[in-house]
Symmetry: C2
Subunit: 459 residues, 2 copies
């Protein structure tokens, strides 16, 4: 442990000076990631200040994600690649008059625009605009080059062995699910879905005429016992980061699920929408990667990890379904932009994709940490946080009988938008309301401001 060079003067509160000094040492890399910091007592002694002063400074740094606290080991400088500091700005949808007063919008589904590699992307765009593909309809399953890059990426990041021939690109997960529904409807009439679960997928299945069998999500994810009792031979599941509860399906349940699909001659639709963002440990392997000839249709998207605006999703089809797909959809044109597809292929080819994901993982990890610590600090035990290990949103459950709509309205009156989850439940609602908070496009300052305003709204 090195001594911290901090000079205090009398002009401003001492905890603020300590906070700013340590923060700038971290930002300037004079304090490297994972460096152990002096304890609260030690730092108080070094600087001749009270322990309360150093405690407050550390708490502020913790809340902002500059440092982390490890039980019985003390305080450490947090890992992150870049610091994206900017002043709080109003969130985008500001044209609608009701939204004028919105100071912080915890909407999930946008991405961090300050960390986006716009130059590299623009360079790839301008190159692609010189290619012939711009002037033609694209390949039916999607751009071959991009499918190759996706196959590579799936092997490296998710352990999935596949080839470009089995990949079908589409303009959204819902669009792919719609094609898939039409395909599966020939043989199956009902589908099991997670409860709570992604309403956007459920709606597609319903609109395509499937009977819906909701299966409870418990501590270990989808309840296998319930699944085994019902007649559905299809299941739609988000095993790596259950939407919305964040649960990861353990390996034992994964094997059980794969065997279920085999014995039923059914299929598992594995929606792996944001597996890139797992902050505590390595992602566990995708269902599709566990078993040879698994009866799994794997679906993922570039919307969470990259940009929702380019509308790029993809699925990996088992060979039996692939043949049927190519037959039934023979007259269909590809729905995703060939320009975006080729641009993404070039972007991946040049290694930009990998470094972008690494960078975003660090950035989002820090934001998640700030959100979680700020909420703990503001609400203490009154709040339960769900799904804090991965992804780009968390759920919060206030131990209060106030209804979801009222909580949302109270937050809105303070200028904060938070989102309901009751639409994700079928047939029952949790005892206490659960709200959804996305953080990907918010700055550290906005997250902190948002939590302060929520505290004002709800206490």
């Amino acid at each position: 442990m090195r001594e911290l060079m901090i000079h205090l003067n009398e002009n401003s509160p001492k905890y603020k000076q300590i906070y700013h000094s340590i923060r700038s040492l971290i930002e300037n890399k004079e304090l490297q990631p994972n460096t152990k910091l002096p304890s609260i007592r030690q730092l108080a002694e070094i600087l001749y200040v009270s322990r309360n002063t150093t405690l407050v400074a550390y708490e502020q740094l913790l809340a902002e994600g500059y440092i982390r606290s490890e039980q019985k080991r003390g305080y450490f400088v947090e890992t992150f690649e870049s610091i994206d500091i900017h002043t709080p700005t109003l969130h985008a949808e500001k044209s609608i008059s009701e939204e004028r007063k919105i100071k912080v919008d915890f909407r999930a589904g946008s991405v961090d625009q300050h960390a986006f590699p716009i130059k590299a992307w623009r360079k790839c765009v301008n190159e692609v605009l010189k290619e012939d593909i711009v002037y033609m309809y694209g390949e039916q399953q999607g751009d071959r080059l991009l499918r190759e890059k996706i196959a590579n990426y799936l092997l490296q990041s998710r352990g999935i062995r596949t080839s470009e021939d089995s990949i079908v690109i589409g303009s959204s997960t819902q669009q792919l699910l719609m094609h898939l529904s039409i395909l599966l409807k020939n043989k199956y009439s009902s589908i099991a879905v997670e409860n709570p679960g992604y309403d956007g997928a459920r709606t597609v299945f319903q609109l395509c005429g499937f009977q819906i069998n909701p299966i409870e999500v418990r501590k270990k994810g989808l309840c296998m016992k319930q699944l085994e009792k019902i007649e559905s031979k299809l299941v739609y599941i988000t095993p790596s980061h259950q939407f919305p509860t964040g649960v990861t399906l353990p390996i034992a349940e994964r094997l059980q699920l794969l065997n279920w699909a085999h014995s039923q001659n059914g299929y598992i639709i594995e929606d792996d929408y944001d597996s890139e963002f797992r902050y505590q440990q390595q992602p566990i392997p995708a269902l599709l990667s566990i078993q040879q000839e698994a009866r799994v249709i794997y679906i993922s998207t570039f919307s969470k990890a990259f940009l929702p605006s380019i509308r790029l999703s993809y699925m990996v089809l088992p060979s039996e379904l692939l043949d049927q797909y190519n037959q039934q959809f023979a007259t269909f044109e590809q729905t995703a932009s060939s320009i975006h597809q080729r641009t993404m292929a070039r972007f991946m080819e040049r290694g930009h994709w990998d470094s972008h994901i690494r960078k975003m993982r660090a950035t989002y990890k820090r934001k998640m940490h700030v959100l979680v610590s700020s909420l703990h600090l503001a609400f203490g035990k009154v709040i339960r946080l769900i799904g804090t290990q991965s992804g780009l949103y968390i759920l919060i459950q206030l131990q209060s009988s106030v209804g979801e709509e009222i909580l949302i309205q109270q937050a809105l009156e303070q200028g904060v938008k938070v989102y309901p989850t009751s639409n994700l439940y079928i047939g029952y609602k949790p005892e206490f309301s659960i709200l959804k908070l996305g953080f990907s496009n918010l700055s550290i300052e906005e997250i902190q401001l948002g939590v302060q305003l929520l505290k004002k709204a709800w206490t």
Copy 2:
């Protein structure tokens, strides 16, 4: 009429010298569009050559679209904005080994890449990449700015009065038809389609569970008598440029059709896929523009008039359906790229769209003319040409009992790809095979080469 300054020497055939001289006078704008040319007899007298020599020179210029012939009035310089001369190149899909020998590909569905305003487009792209929308999911019905521009355009070009609120943008006509099918399936179980007609639309309706009622297309388009006899209350139709026959539905039949929809409480799905390219007279008004409160769902696309690769289509929904759509598809994300949508909006805002369409109309008109004259010249009365007034392809019918597949194979052996139409017919086939030739991405030289090779293949 001014005298043509043409100096002939003895070194090369005289008709070639005359041809080249007139051609370069036209290209250099020394002969302005619509200038009347001397008659064949007059020119022969002026230049002291035989009438046969001037005839051959004029025929060549006619075939290449530099001049046009008007009955009883004589020869005139053709109208076109720019001349895009480049040496014949192999068509794009050349990676596949079978395609290596393809010299000319009459594939419909690509656009002229030499006339494309790449700079203006790139400028709009780079501006849009600075906007916030890049980092978010787009509006559900599509980018509001683009919907405003489309509403303007529909009023000016198609006489349609609508507003951005009634427009829904999607990533392809098929994707929109699929959503529409799901919507209409609540109330209707069968749909009438044109026979022959667009198989891509028919497949969507079939996959979504509709019973298909094929209605014959005759000289005046869809046979109204047949339509009135069946039970379907829905009809899918391409009234402005019937796919594939090119027939325009006359105004009397249009009114009849609109009344039919009202009396049936049904809907007309009007697919107006390439109404921009009408070469002889002004486009006749869209069905939707004729009647207040018409029971018409209007669909169009940017794929033909602009770029197929950006995947942008749109539909105008009657208010009753719009409410149902927004209710049923509430959890659906937009499927078209918001980047492309906003770029197109900026492109239209700055007037690039209008001038692009004007330019392309002139370019395609010339190509159509060259294709038609070359085919007439090469095949005479053995060939019947269908749909030569508009659009980006024509149909040809050889007065020969040789089957479609064999004709395609014979052409392929000469390095030319032409396309079948039998897949567009339901339940019957025309007496003589009909083939489809697209020309939008071919140069004048490629078109001429293609026709020469077809002559070699088939005679």
